[in-house]
């Protein structure tokens, strides 16, 4: 397969005022694009060229660091854009809502757990809501551009919601105030997409 740089599913300013247009533009056209370009260059040098990102992550420990870093950066950001919407926010419904309530007690308790994971990730990284092999939910965080699909992960699972907590994701608008960025993020989460991911895994 040829690797494609995905289009952003909305305008740069679509998530205002929660995520500002300048951040979105630089994040997508510079950071994400650079991960894509560097991943394509790095994977070409390996026998895994053409494989899906999921297959690559399952063996990423045996591949060059550039594949792990930039492949992660490519996948994580694509998933991140799709997880947000100008009409987002609110709370999940259906099976996912039931699973969240069963596991965390309530949606608010889940949010607190996810917020802690995102706020406590030291340095650059991501916070995740994922589905484990036994179909149970888990919240964790990963360093840099790692993700729970990688065979290097200490919380292996299939992510359904990821939040970028690299400083580049929020510094222009929120500077050192990462918790404010995390709070703002909940206003743009596209729960119907997250629910569809969940349903397709546990079906």
């Amino acid at each position: 397969m040829d690797y494609q740089f995905p289009s952003l599913p909305y305008a740069f300013n679509a998530l205002e005022p929660h995520i500002d247009a300048q951040t979105m533009e630089i994040h997508y056209t510079k950071h994400h694009k650079t991960y894509f370009d560097k991943f394509v260059a790095a994977i070409k040098e390996t026998e895994s060229n053409g494989k899906s990102l999921e297959e690559i992550f399952a063996n990423v420990s045996k591949l060059p660091m550039a594949v792990r870093n930039h492949g992660g950066g490519l996948f994580n950001h694509t998933m991140f854009w799709e997880s947000m919407s100008p009409n987002g926010g609110g709370a999940p419904a259906g099976q996912l809502a039931d699973a969240i309530n069963a596991k965390y007690g309530s949606f608010e308790d889940f949010k607190t757990k996810f917020n802690d994971a995102a706020a406590n990730r030291f340095g650059s990284g991501w916070a995740w809501l994922s589905v484990k092999a036994d179909n149970s939910l888990c919240v964790c965080s990963s360093a840099n551009q790692d993700n729970p699909l990688m065979d290097t992960s200490d919380c292996p699972a299939t992510p359904i919601l990821g939040l970028d907590v690299w400083e580049h994701a929020y510094y222009l608008k929120f500077q050192n105030r990462r918790p404010e960025y995390i709070s703002a993020f909940w206003n743009v989460v596209n729960w119907s997409v997250i629910e569809a991911r969940y349903n397709s895994i546990v079906k």
Binding site: G123, G125, H168
Partner: protein, 228 residues
């Protein structure tokens, strides 16, 4: 009258004596220059947030994490030499506290140029030329993936080398891949440059050479050699 004067002086001195007693062993040092002193290379807003928010938060978190432990009176170098035995909150925040203080001193208004003296000679002999050193140091900065630091370090053998560390680690920590005594450092966390340079870390590093304080690096280099 004389007696009253003595009482008065003693009374006046009490708050100062108390303050001295309360002064912590680990101090949050003032920034050695104004926030706008490194313009246009490092902008005022970045300096202010970097010092007053990030650096101060590391300091406060470090103080909170070690409260009531013997670390409150332990020199930083000893803490780093045994950092593997400490909780990760100590490692992260002690590193963030110490690294930033060193970083402020590695810069000054009207800085830049080239190092002279023994450090200049050592850089030339180790890296071939000052330009080669700059190239390798900048490359280490651009290549550090995620958050971290670049260091010019004196190794156990007294020789110079360049290394980079993730997050707030440093070469003094006993968990460092390349341990040694740092004499010069560069912060490559995005918060160090994002407001002015955004994704262009390379531009930040290029600009940074204009404000480096070689006198300070020179001093640390001489001290590091003396300890050998």
């Amino acid at each position: 009258m004389k007696k009253i004067l003595v009482y008065f002086i003693v009374l006046m001195a009490i708050p100062f004596a108390l303050k001295a007693q309360q002064e912590p062993f680990h101090k949050f040092a003032p920034l050695p220059y104004a926030y706008d002193a490194l313009e246009p290379y490092i902008d005022k807003m970045t300096m202010e947030i970097h010092y007053d928010k990030h650096h101060r938060a590391y300091y406060n978190n470090f103080m909170a994490a070690m409260k009531g432990t013997e670390l409150e009176k332990t020199p930083m170098l000893s803490i780093f030499a045994n950092i593997s035995t400490q909780p990760v909150a100590i490692r992260n925040n002690a590193g963030g506290y110490w690294n930033h203080e060193m970083f402020w001193n590695c810069m000054k208004p009207n800085g830049g140029g080239t190092p002279s003296g023994k450090l200049g000679d050592a850089i030339t002999s180790t890296f071939g030329s000052f330009d080669n050193f700059k190239k390798q140091f900048a490359e280490a900065g651009v290549k550090r993936f995620g958050s971290g630091w670049v260091w010019l370090v004196v190794g156990k053998d007294g020789k110079l080398f360049i290394s980079s560390t993730p997050n707030q680690d440093n070469p003094l920590m006993n968990i460092a891949e390349q341990p040694g005594t740092p004499v010069f450092c560069l912060d490559v966390w995005e918060h160090a440059y994002y407001l002015k340079y955004q994704n262009k870390r390379g531009d930040y590093i290029n600009a940074w050479w204009n404000v480096v304080n070689w006198d300070f690096a020179q001093k640390l280099y001489a001290e590091a050699l003396e300890k050998k």
